[in-house]
Amino acid sequence: MALKPVNAVIIGAGAGGGIVAKELAEAGLSVVLLERGKWYSPFDCRKDDLRNQRTSPLGQAFGPDDDRSPRVAVDTQGREHIVRASGPGYQNNAACVGGGTFSYGAMAWRYMEKDFRMRSTYGHVSGSTLADWPVSYQDLEPYYEKAEWEIGVSGDVSGDPFHAPRRRPLPMPPLPPNREYEILYPAAKRLGLHPFDIPMLRNSVPYNGRPACIRCRWCVGFACEVDAKCGTHNTVIPKAVATKNCEVRTECVVKEIIANERGRVTGVVYFDANDELHQQDADVVIVSCGAIESARLLLNSKSRLFPDGLGNRRDWVGRNLQGHTYTGAFGLMPMDIYDDLGPGAGIALCDYNHGNPGLVGGAMLANEFIRLPYQFVSMIPPGLPRWGKAHKDFMRNAYRRAIAVQGPTQEMPVFDSRVQVDPVVKDHWGIPVARLSGDKHPHTIETSTVMAGKAEAWLKEAGAVQTWKKLSGPGLSAGQHQAGTCRMGSDPATSVVNRYCQVHDVDNLFVIDASVHVTNGGFNPVLTIMAMAYYASDHLVKQWKGTRFA
């Protein structure tokens, strides 16, 4: 059934799509925002330690559905596995209004200036497609600021001498320190490092009509039950709806983007909650499904002029899939330090993001979010049995004494780490699923191992009586920080979109999410996704001429 045409259809109501919806709707465009998941509320915070978006032995809390949305994962030995959303290897983020921002930990980092100029800073890295972004930090700075104030960020980066120049401070102060912070802060100072308060998309004071964080222990992976976490679901998307120019349609799974014989896109075809097929025509199509699903949708959108999928003339769609290699260390303090104060993470340092001898990039290091007992089960020192009396003793003695410090090592993009569409496996709707393959670059592993050592040294200085590292294996990392699959660049031969997130050879098709990230920084990527969404929307609106582009 054909629906009333609109100016813009946006696929995916996550960090990127939510912002684009609001910016376009406020500029007067008629917008349909399609989301494959549901619109959850703070009441969906079920505090279920076995079923949430971070720890999911009994399933994911916020999608996608385990039975309907499989993927194919190719492991480091080349074996194929059909994986379900809550299982290992799926690289899941979320499927709901707000996307990952609905249940994330909410760290709100600006990338550093060098993060946009990795190739110029460090030169060629063998085996990697490391490149500069076509935009600079200075281009994005006003949009970072807009994201911080519109979505809402608390924290204090004044103690971080490495942060890039900024015009305004953060709109909210940091939450008061917890016990881990009080122990780690002076230790970092003694080491000559520069600890400070992590910027977080979380209300520390009432802001935007929502209350402050109550500091409970169900944070990352859970819906915030008092709505103090700031995502697109409780900020920009309601604003978009309030303009009356934007309609949000949930539980709608897009099958493909339709292209005409003149090489432009004309809309999308999607299944609604009752599995009925609809066609939504639009003047502009914006793909914001996250790095894996955005690439999958482009690759599944084949037509006579685009036989290998939209934007894929040069075989770059789906390439350079990356996330973050998380490594760090655990430290056992001589005394009980558990204070039951969420979100737990509060202190970070950026001393190791750049300037590590012999290494390309690095990572921000921070203390980890508060842990429920089940999450602690596998955080055991090497050599300790994973079951039996010794394991039980460890759990009993260590749970309230442990501190974890870790960080997201910036990954070296690898051309053959990629998203393809599987030739055989299809999802519930008969759409070919994403097939994920590839490894981490060896230098990523090397850097992440050094970062684990830095974390361990910090914990030792803090007085830990026992420390052990958490290292990373060679397998693909994408997951919640997935990025890179529709690279932004000036040269259509080596990228998918231009500096405004516009697909090179289809002027009314945009990809606005972490897919466009050339590199992914040594930081959680969400604020950069948001800033880029504001930046690209700004350009889109300026180029908009009534019903088409100039």
Partner: protein, 163 residues
């Protein structure tokens, strides 16, 4: 006369036979043994497995049925008796034997994982009876901050509580 009957006639288990449950209780009792604090058996870990095998772990029913049978057979081959009939020291030896056997190990690993979930996870799923593990590690309860709002009614109806 039973007040509540569910699952199989004459059995208090939803999925396991009484013999299977006896074997599993013996195994789980070694994965998390009883000491000054309750272990897996008293925490109801087998009840957790039994419940989840009719819900989220339904696809693992065959794996469990076959795995328990193989485990008992390995015990008979190795020590001459079914696992639950052996003395504790011999049971431990059988488990170490199973752990070093590449064919039997995957099921044992599954049991370890599910035992940890049933012992340390939220009581709403059928294990961690009276929050024994949370008391053991010192997790404050009830929490000072945040509501407690669960839907046990759905679980009693045998439905997935989150749907």
């Amino acid at each position: 006369m039973p007040v509540v009957a569910c699952g199989r006639r004459g059995s208090s288990w939803r999925f396991f036979t009484a013999e299977e449950a006896r074997t599993l209780e013996a195994v789980c009792g070694h994965i998390i043994p009883e000491d000054q604090d309750p272990g897996a058996v008293r925490a109801g870990v087998v009840r957790f497995m039994d419940t989840q095998l009719t819900l989220f772990y339904k696809p693992l029913q065959k794996t469990y049925r076959r795995g328990i049978a193989q485990l008992d057979q390995a015990s008979i081959d190795f020590a001459g008796k079914r696992f639950a009939d052996l003395p504790a020291a011999q049971q431990l030896a059988v488990l170490h034997h199973i752990e070093s056997n590449p064919e039997l190990r995957p099921f044992f690993d599954l049991l370890v994982a599910h035992t940890m979930q049933g012992f340390y996870g939220d009581p709403r799923h059928g294990g961690n009876r009276e929050r024994v593990s949370w008391k053991m590690v010192g997790l404050p309860y009830p929490p000072l901050r945040g509501r407690l709002r669960y839907d046990f009614a759905d679980l009693a109806k045998g439905e997935l509580p989150w749907r």
